[in-house]
Symmetry: C2
Subunit: 158 residues, 2 copies
DNA sequence: ATATCTGCAAAGACTTTGCATGAGA
DNA sequence: TCTCATGCAAAGTCTTTGCAGATAT
């Protein structure tokens, strides 16, 4: 298991994981490491390939099963950018420093992460969340905001 | 072709459709009618079944092909609520009266449409849209907001 | 008349499942 | 030790594609 270098809270999920009664296996750590070290929008296969380079024993099935688990526990968020395969991202780092939303080009599939306006968005979302929570009796755990459009290159081509 | 009863702008898409060089076929009208008359979150198969009752000649393939076309032209929006199949909704009726966002239960998959707070949301989205448009040189055409959580029933069961 | 559109069947792509083996606590 | 996790292969599900015949304009 390679220890992450650039982050102070290495293995910060350790506790959360075991606290829920799940075993902390080599595969799961490897998958979490890959997610933690990448800033891209990884598909299950992307993750599999990266993990596989270091731990050739880990199979694609385990990646799928682990991702499902991580999504259930809220450690990972699953996105759909419209290209037929799911993408996965750590919900937040040890200090919650990664929150962002997405801007998707509907022609080429390019995805831009943005953090501009995030504060305003979050503030409104929190208010909305409270209102919805009360009105519809939901316990809201997450939200999704995406913008769709054409990037400069694709706009040129049309 | 059954004419819609409850809507004044019957066939309002007629012009938009032909204006783009597409043929207005029986199948396409039937599919648009189904979308226009339903307020649910229909999957391709749901649409196929509804269309099929009245036009048994229309196949599932045509439904998929038509939906793709409608999504491309912006008449229909495609959603992913996390259950592995896409859902489709008319982007807006003849008077743009349908805009709403979604609240999804991650346990049972129930989806609630809400229009509360929509005005505030739209206002913020418009501002954000302008900013993002300029900064990332995108022509933004659409947005998506969804909240995720547990509905009252599912919360009780956990 | 002719470029589009469509149905059917088959293929494709991603994801899930069954079962015997292997590994954490 | 004993339950939980995993790999492999096979199956499942939704969606797309090829092609000949039908249709809108």
């Amino acid at each position: 298991m390679k220890a992450p270098h650039r982050r102070r809270g290495a293995m910060w999920w350790h506790g959360k994981f075991k606290g829920m009664g799940y075993r902390l296996t080599t595969s799961r750590q490897a998958i979490l490491d890959v997610l933690g070290e990448s800033s891209e929008h990884l598909s299950a296969e992307d993750i599999y390939l990266k993990v596989h380079r270091i731990h050739p024993g880990v199979g694609l099935t385990t990646v799928y099963r682990t991702l499902e688990l991580l999504v259930q526990t809220g450690l990972v968020f699953k996105f759909d950018f419209g290209d037929g395969r799911a993408r996965y991202e750590l919900s937040e780092g040890p200090k919650g420093a990664r929150h962002h939303h997405h801007l998707v080009c509907t022609a080429c599939g390019r995805v831009v992460d943005y953090t501009d306006f995030i504060d305003e968005e979050i503030e409104l979302l929190n208010r909305t969340e409270k209102g919805l929570s009360a009105k519809y009796d939901f316990k809201i755990t997450n939200h999704l905001i995406q913008f769709y459009g054409l990037c400069n290159e694709c706009r040129g081509r049309s």
